[in-house]
Amino acid sequence: MYWDQATETMSRDQLEELQLKRMKETLNRAAKAPFYQTLGIADYVIKDLSDIQKLPVTTKQDLRDAYPYGMVCTPLQEIIRLHSSSGTTGIPTVVYHSREDIQMWTELVTRCMYMIGVRPDDVFQNMIGYGLFTGGLGLHYGAERLGCLTIPTGPGNTKRQLKFMKEFDVSVIHVIPSYALHLADTLEAAGIKPKKEFPKLKSAILGAEPHSEETRAKIEDFFGIDAFNSYGLSEMNGPGVAFECPHKQGLHLWEDAFCFEIVDPETLKPTSPGERGELIVTTLTRQAMPIIRYRTKDLTMRITAECACGRTHQRIERISGRSDDMMILKGVNIFPIQIEQILIGTPGVGRNYQIILESKGHNDHMILKVELDPSMFIGDISSLEKLRAKLIRELHDEILITPDVDLCEPGSIPVAQGKAVRVIDNREL
C-alpha cells in the first residue's frame, strides 16, 4: 500500500533530521540565486528546524520582481522545463525545473496516486489542463511512472470525455470538482446511470479548486466512487504537494520534499496547533529554483495526530480560503488586479467595478459590473454593445474564462474599500 514505504513511514525524528539536512542544502543552493543573494541568505545559520522562522519569506511579488531568471541558481543548460502563470498583462510567475526536479515531482505524484490505490492496470483519464498549467502534466508524468494507461484528454469536450471513459473502461479520473459535477449533470440529463456506464470507474482525483466535503460526497455518491482531494501550487511544482490517503482525514503534506509552517497572515507568527492560518512552504529538494518560506496565501490547519494509514508525514486540513483576493474559477487562478488592468486600458468604462461569482448549474460563472464613463457616452446603443463585447473578449484573453459584463450607470457601484466589496462570491462550494 506504500509506493515508497521507507520515506512515507519514516519516524518523525528521522524525518526531521532529513528536513534539517535538506534545509541546509537548500540554503546553500539558494545562495547562488541573485534574488536570495540580495537577501543575504548565506548569512543565515540553521541549527534546528525552528530556526526556519528567522528566514525571510518569499512572496508571489518577489517571484515577479525576479523575473525572468532572478530565482534560478543553476546554469540554464541544466533546466529542462518551465511552468508559468497564465496572465498576459502582468509579469508571469515562472518556475523552472531541472531533470532532477521533474523526477522528484513525478515521484511525489506517483506516491500520491499509489496511496489512493492506483495501480499499473488502471486506466487513467486526465481531464485537467496541460501546457503552462501544472495540473495536467504533473499527474500525467505520475500516472505514466506508475504504469497506468494514461489518456491525456485535458479539460472540456464533455461528450468525448464520457465516450472515452466508457470505451476505454477508465478506472481513475483527474478532474476539477466543478467539472465532475458538470459531468454528473450531463449524465443525469441523458438518463445514464454512471455505475452501469462506467463499471470499472473507482476513483476521482479532485484538484485545482478548493471544494467542500459536500461536493466530494455528491461526486462520490453519484458516480459510486472514492474521490480524493489533491493540493498543490505551481511554485511548489504543482500537484503532489499534499494529498489525501484512503482515510480522507486531511491531506498528507510530503515533508521529505517540503517543510511547511502555518502562520498568522498578519504577524507571520506560527499559529498554535489546531488553529487556522496561512500555509508557508519551503522546497527541500528543488535544484533549479529553490523557494524559501513561500507564502501560499492558502488558509489551512496543521493536523499533528497520527494517521491510521501509518504515514508519518503530517496532514493539513482541506483549504478553507485565501488570505488575499485571489479567486479560483473553473480551476483558473484569477486576481482582481488582472481585471482592473483591462478596465484601465479600456476607454468608455470607469475603474470602479464589482465581481459577482455564481454557480450556474455546477459551473462557476463570473458577472463583472462596470460603470460607464459618462464623458465617453455618445448616445447610441451599438457603441455600448461594442464596448461590452470588447471587454468580454479582452477579459477572456486575460483570465481564460468568459464573464458576463453588465454596464452600469455612473456612480451606481459602491466605491470599494477592500476586496470584500469588490468580489461577491455567491457560489455554493
Binding site: 460607464l372 464613463d373 459618462p374 457616452f377 455618445i378 448616445g379 447610441d380 446603443i381 451599438s382 455600448l384 454593445e385 453588465d406 454596464l407 452600469c408 450607470e409 455612473p410 456612480g411 451606481s412
Partner: protein
Amino acid sequence: MAHQISLFVENKPGKLDAVLASIIGKKIDIKAFMIASAGKFGVIKLLVDEPFKAREMLKDAGHAVALEEVVVVEIRDMPQGIKDITDLFASKGINIENAYGFSVQEKPKSLFIIETKEPSNIKEIVTAKGFKVLSDAQIYAL
C-alpha cells in the same frame, strides 16, 4: 436641426424614475420620449424644450448623457404620412439608426424624429424634397 438627449440607464425597476427625477419638476418640458433597450441596459431618447440646459442638469446629477442632432420632419397626419419620408431615405440609400414619431394634438400633422449618421447634408436632402425640418424652438412652437 433639433437636438435629442440620449441617456444611459440600466434595465432595472426604478432606474427610469430616478433619472427623470433629475429633470422633471425643474422646468424642463418633455415633448417626446422613447426607450431603446438592449438587454440589461437601455438608452432613453428625449426631446425637451431646453435640451442644453437639460443635458447640464442630467450631467450634474451624474448621468451618462449625450446630445445629438436629429432630423425632425413634419409629416402628414394620415396613413401615407410616414411613408413619404421613408421613401426618401430609401431612395437615397440613407440608413436610419433610430426613429420615432408622434402626432401634434389638434393639428393635422405629425412629427417624425430620425437619427442617422450619414450624410452630413441630410437637412438639405430632406428640405429639397419639400419636407419641413424643425429646430428645437419650432418643435415647441407647435
